[in-house]
């Protein structure tokens, strides 16, 4: 692409002052892209036909969306203490699951990385198990944890941990594997055992990446956590879904606004941290 952008700056002076077209298009285009675009269009049209959405009914109800937003805009601060405690519960669940998963992720990432224990079989087994855990959406795990552990923050933390640990295991294993073999060999020559090599060479080198992954995951965990209440766990999601179903739009409006503000703050803080590190 950079070649292309340089070509664009070329300006040719034609001798007869005749307008001349300068080709600015990329010469070496990827043949695959048109095929891909056509494929996407065909698939989407097929999908839309298959879904059989009743568009006329949907469009006729659009004014109602405006009404709902109008109602949501009438913020009702009567239940602010309930909203606030559930918001704090949600944030705590997000942070706790993040911290537990960090520890678990480092441990399992150690097993999953090929260069820590040098047992290919172990890393393949760990990686494929966590690929499975990662493929199933978080609310499913939370629902199952609700069955095992009963209502309350326990189920939320445990359910979120499953997915977050699976995510961390994969990404930490990648960071661990990016350590050059020379570093490990140099320490092994001095007679250090595998665990010492891990804590002294591999872990310190991966810390900055681990912090970056954790920051990114906190964003996701918070929005997941806000969702969890809607499938039956506690927290702010429960307040939102409950008050929307009870036509208490003012309370729901306040809760949604707070979710937005917290998510936005986390995003801003994370952008700041990322800039500092980069």
């Amino acid at each position: 692409m950079s070649v292309n952008s340089k070509e664009n700056i070329l300006v040719l002076n034609s001798p007869k002052n005749k307008p001349k077209r300068i080709p600015v298009k990329c010469k070496q285009t990827n043949r695959f892209i048109p095929v891909f675009l056509i494929g996407v269009v065909v698939l989407s049209v097929l999908s839309l036909v298959y879904l059989e959405i009743d568009w006329i009914k949907m469009f006729s109800r659009i004014p109602q969306i405006g009404e709902v937003f109008w109602d949501l805009g009438h913020l009702d601060f009567a239940n602010i203490d309930l909203i606030f405690t559930s918001l704090i519960e949600t944030i705590s669940i997000a942070v706790l699951s993040l911290l537990y998963s960090l520890i678990l992720g480092i441990i399992f990432g150690m097993f999953a990385a090929r260069n820590v224990f040098n047992i290919p079989f172990l890393s393949v087994i760990t990686q494929s198990f966590f690929t499975f855990l990662r493929a199933v959406p978080t609310p499913v795990w939370v629902l199952l944890m609700l069955v095992c552990l009963g209502m309350g923050p326990q189920a939320g933390v445990a359910g979120l941990c499953v997915h977050t640990t699976a995510f961390f295991t994969k990404s930490f294993a990648q960071s661990f594997e990016s350590i050059p073999d020379e570093t490990i060999e140099a320490l092994e020559v001095t007679g250090a055992n595998k665990l010492t090599v891990f804590t002294n060479a591999i872990l310190p080198a991966a810390v900055s990446q681990i912090v970056a992954w954790a920051g990114m995951r906190l964003e996701t965990n918070f929005s997941e956590c806000a969702i969890l209440g809607m499938v039956g766990a506690g927290g702010i999601g429960f307040v939102i879904s409950n008050s929307l179903q009870g036509y208490d739009y003012g309370t729901a409006g306040v809760a949604i606004l707070l979710v937005f503000i917290v998510a936005y703050c986390i995003e801003r803080i994370f952008v700041r941290i990322k800039k500092k590190f980069a």
Partner: protein
């Protein structure tokens, strides 16, 4: 005497210590607030194992008469993710053109466009689904719109970043020779950013496959709803085989998009 050689720089070490202390403080505060204790989890591990070994294993197939329904619900989920992402991508492309100060014909409104996208993005898809359920009623169409909103907002941000990374000199030079806005878009932005856009589009498809399962659980239809009904009726062994089905679906889509992305970025 043994001497330790520090392997990380001194100022970095201080930073990491700060991180660890914050983590510890957060841990204590949050544990106190939620009254979450790992020990209770470990104490309950008997019931946990019982649940896994007796209710969960082995995965059972649903009744043979229900199998076509389950498979078609998987298709609904896939179709929902695909079509909503595609439509959101088209909308996001045109919006992103106005969201970048370098490209937009009205640079003053670029911030407004981006702020609007930020607002849409920071509210989770499921919250959108609930807001829309209360105005449009329950159904696949609402799931479609909810997925559209979040992936639209995400792609606006991603597309604006892609454009600002790639094509500033390109756009400026075309502007200097007097190209109009549509010409600038079709001659400068599209050729240089298309592969980046498509790569983000594929990422969004991956995310939406998971999200459409979740939106389905609360009433958007598809395999999420099937799973939810099996869990609610305590048929955990059947639910487990559906969870396996979802995992297979997600992993397959991830593999396909991975292959396609390699082809596109070639």
């Amino acid at each position: 005497m043994k001497k330790r050689i520090p392997l990380i720089a001194h100022d970095l070490k201080r930073l990491y210590t700060a991180f660890i202390i914050t983590a510890l403080v957060l841990f204590v505060v949050c544990s106190f607030l939620t009254e979450f204790n790992v020990m209770t989890l470990i104490a309950n591990s008997d019931a946990f194992w019982e649940f896994i070994t007796e209710d969960f294993f082995p995965p059972a197939l649903p009744k043979t008469s229900r199998i076509p329904g389950v498979l078609s619900s998987v298709l609904v989920t896939l179709a929902l993710a695909m079509s909503s992402t595609a439509i959101a991508a088209v909308l996001a492309f045109f919006t992103a053109l106005f969201g970048s100060e370098k490209v937009s014909p009205f640079p003053r409104f670029a911030k407004v466009v981006r702020g609007f996208a930020t607002f849409l993005r920071n509210i989770p898809a499921l919250v959108w689904a609930f807001i829309l359920f209360s105005s449009l009623g329950i159904g696949t169409g609402v799931g479609f719109v909810a997925l559209c909103i979040t992936s639209f907002a995400f792609m606006v941000r991603a597309f604006v970043e892609t454009m600002e990374d790639v094509s500033q000199d390109c756009v400026e030079s075309l502007q200097a020779v007097g190209a109009t806005f549509p010409q600038r878009v079709s001659q400068a932005i599209l050729p240089s950013c298309l592969s980046g856009f498509l790569s983000w589009f594929l990422y969004c498809v991956e995310v939406n496959i998971r999200a459409s399962t979740i939106v389905g659980m609360v009433g958007g239809g598809g395999v999420g709803l099937t799973l939810f009904s099996y869990i609610k009726s305590f048929q955990y062994d059947i639910a487990f085989s559906i969870i396996l089905l979802i995992a297979v679906m997600v992993i397959a889509v991830d593999q396909i998009t991975g292959k396609l992305r390699k082809e596109i970025l070639k």
